[in-house]
């Protein structure tokens, strides 16, 4: 594996980090080290913890603020990070802009939520706004929030009784309704909602079983996000693969909400021990591929340790730099809590 620390190549303006230090924007302090200069931090030295570079790096990028053409309310941070442990599970989740959107000022089009229900079940939601739809970052967030609310209101004691199809339809309806408000339309308009807000969605409910250390996952997906179980060093695709092949060539013809698949059947399986459930957008799925390459190595090393990584360490790994992989990335990892930990 070729993973080398990456130093920024561009010189950046350094900013004094001492109390009361003035920043002279007209005459910025050069980022080149100067023996007489006071201790500095700033962009050039903020790379004390550089991005992990896998193979050839993607050009380094200082993130831009969200562009004026995107609705900036609700406020949308570059990175969203969450994670915690209960008696039964450990969860890590991060969603971040890729270099492309950091560079061009598009907001993060991915979004996620991990929600711990009072009865111990865990809800994981991952959405990837379709890039052809200009306000799909809103679509992703609306889908996440709506699906979370719906699950909370409609999930009975048996996960198997959940009406997944109703969940997906309700989420699609919410997108249509929001499009109506957002764009001042006379009535809900599925075409307009698709043009502006289209998003993929993975919904998962993970529950402890009667066997200690064994978790059961229920998943449904609309669109091209993926889920894997990493076990014994192998990434096993559990949602049936994302790449749509069309005459042997790749196709990005994803079906996305507000389009509703004719059939919504959950994938249900148990996992235990060292196995990790991973749910990710194509920003992760594309570089991971079948898991046999260097991104597979990076995550094998990170996720298969005896103890899960810290939140920041997890986010740092997901923020790897690799040439041509510049899409937004979201990855959620769920471990059965180690019984002896």
């Amino acid at each position: 594996m070729n993973i080398v620390p990456f130093r920024r190549s561009r010189n950046r303006t350094a900013i004094h980090d001492q109390p009361g230090a003035q920043v002279d924007f007209q005459h910025p302090t050069p980022a080149v080290p100067d023996a007489n200069a006071p201790a500095l931090t700033g962009f050039s030295r903020s790379t004390v913890i550089p991005q992990i570079v896998v193979g050839a790096p993607s050009p380094s990028v200082e993130p831009s603020p969200t562009g004026a053409q995107y609705r900036s309310v609700p406020f949308r941070p570059d990175v969203a990070l969450d994670g915690w442990s209960t008696d039964a599970v450990t969860v890590r989740g991060v969603s971040q802009r890729g270099h492309l959107h950091r560079d061009n000022g598009a907001p993060r089009q991915d979004d996620f939520a991990v929600h711990h229900l009072p009865d111990g079940r865990v809800v994981v939601l991952v959405a990837d706004g379709v890039s052809q739809s200009p306000q799909s970052h809103l679509g992703a967030s609306i889908a996440i929030k709506q699906a979370a609310d719906w699950i909370r209101s409609n999930l009975g004691p048996n996960t198997t009784d959940l009406d997944w199809s109703a969940l997906i339809k309700n989420t699609a309806y919410a997108l249509n309704a929001r499009a109506q408000t957002l764009f001042g339309l006379e009535e809900p308009d599925a075409v307009r909602a698709e043009q502006e807000l289209a998003t993929t969605l993975v919904c998962a409910i993970i529950e402890p079983t009667s066997r200690p250390g064994v978790l059961r996952a229920h998943l449904v997906a609309v669109g091209d996000s993926s889920a894997w179980v990493l076990t014994a060093g192998e990434f096993i695709e559990v949602l049936g693969g994302k790449t749509t092949l069309d005459g042997g060539v790749a196709s990005s013809a994803v079906s996305a909400l507000p389009r509703v698949p004719t059939e919504v059947t959950p994938t249900v399986f148990d996992f235990l021990g060292d196995a990790v459930l991973l749910i990710g957008t194509d920003g992760i799925g594309d570089p991971l591929g079948d898991g046999q390459g260097s991104i597979g190595d990076l995550f094998r090393d990170l996720l298969a340790r005896p103890f899960p990584p810290s939140l920041i360490e997890f986010a740092h790994a997901v923020d790897f730099s690799r040439e041509t992989f510049d899409d937004d990335r979201t990855l959620i990892a769920v471990w059965p809590k180690r019984i002896d930990s």
Binding site: A250, I295, D326
Partner: protein, 226 residues
Amino acid sequence: VEPRGKILPIYFVADESGSMGRHIGELNKGLLSLQDALQRESSAAAKVRFSVIGFSDDAFTYLEPADLRTAPQLPELSAHGSTSYCAAFEQLAYRISVDLPRLKGHGFSVYRPVVFFLTDGAPTDREDWRAVRARLLDQPAAPNILSFGIGEADPAVVGEIATKQEFALVADRHMDTGAAITEFLTSLTQSVISSGNAVASGSAELQFDKPEGFTLAVDLIEEDPE
């Protein structure tokens, strides 16, 4: 195989027949500007593999699918001979049949290729180019073909080359051919950049800019039914 991400193969197929003689310089200059522009847009360039095929009596691949960030200087085209669409489509079919498996073998996930087909005249009479084009489109990785007519090109023929009506464009009759070539290359450059950026953000929607002064071939055919 190490996953290398998704890429879009783009084939520029250029008419090099004798009638292009006076304007081949503009074409070559435009290609150099295209390369310059793509080197400034490295994240878009990284997602595209650009190929150049020239045709006249026969067809020749000047540039196999190349990463424009690192490609050596683009080839210089030259004008001579007749206009064999047969040769052009045969060469394209052959290139796609070898290029796509090779790219996939390197770990790329390959989108359906796009062809920008530029012609300035009528195809050679005696050949059945329509059958060769149909064979090209019969293969699983059949490309999307955009056609651009300049000079003496017949809008009806330009319309038959493209795979969709809205992909066939013809330069306005009064437009200077050199200017039309320059406009075409500006639009080609922009299309390559937008498509590369679209692929980088996870979309394979073909992005293309209509060159200034070009009209949909289908509109011209309707206006001028002879």
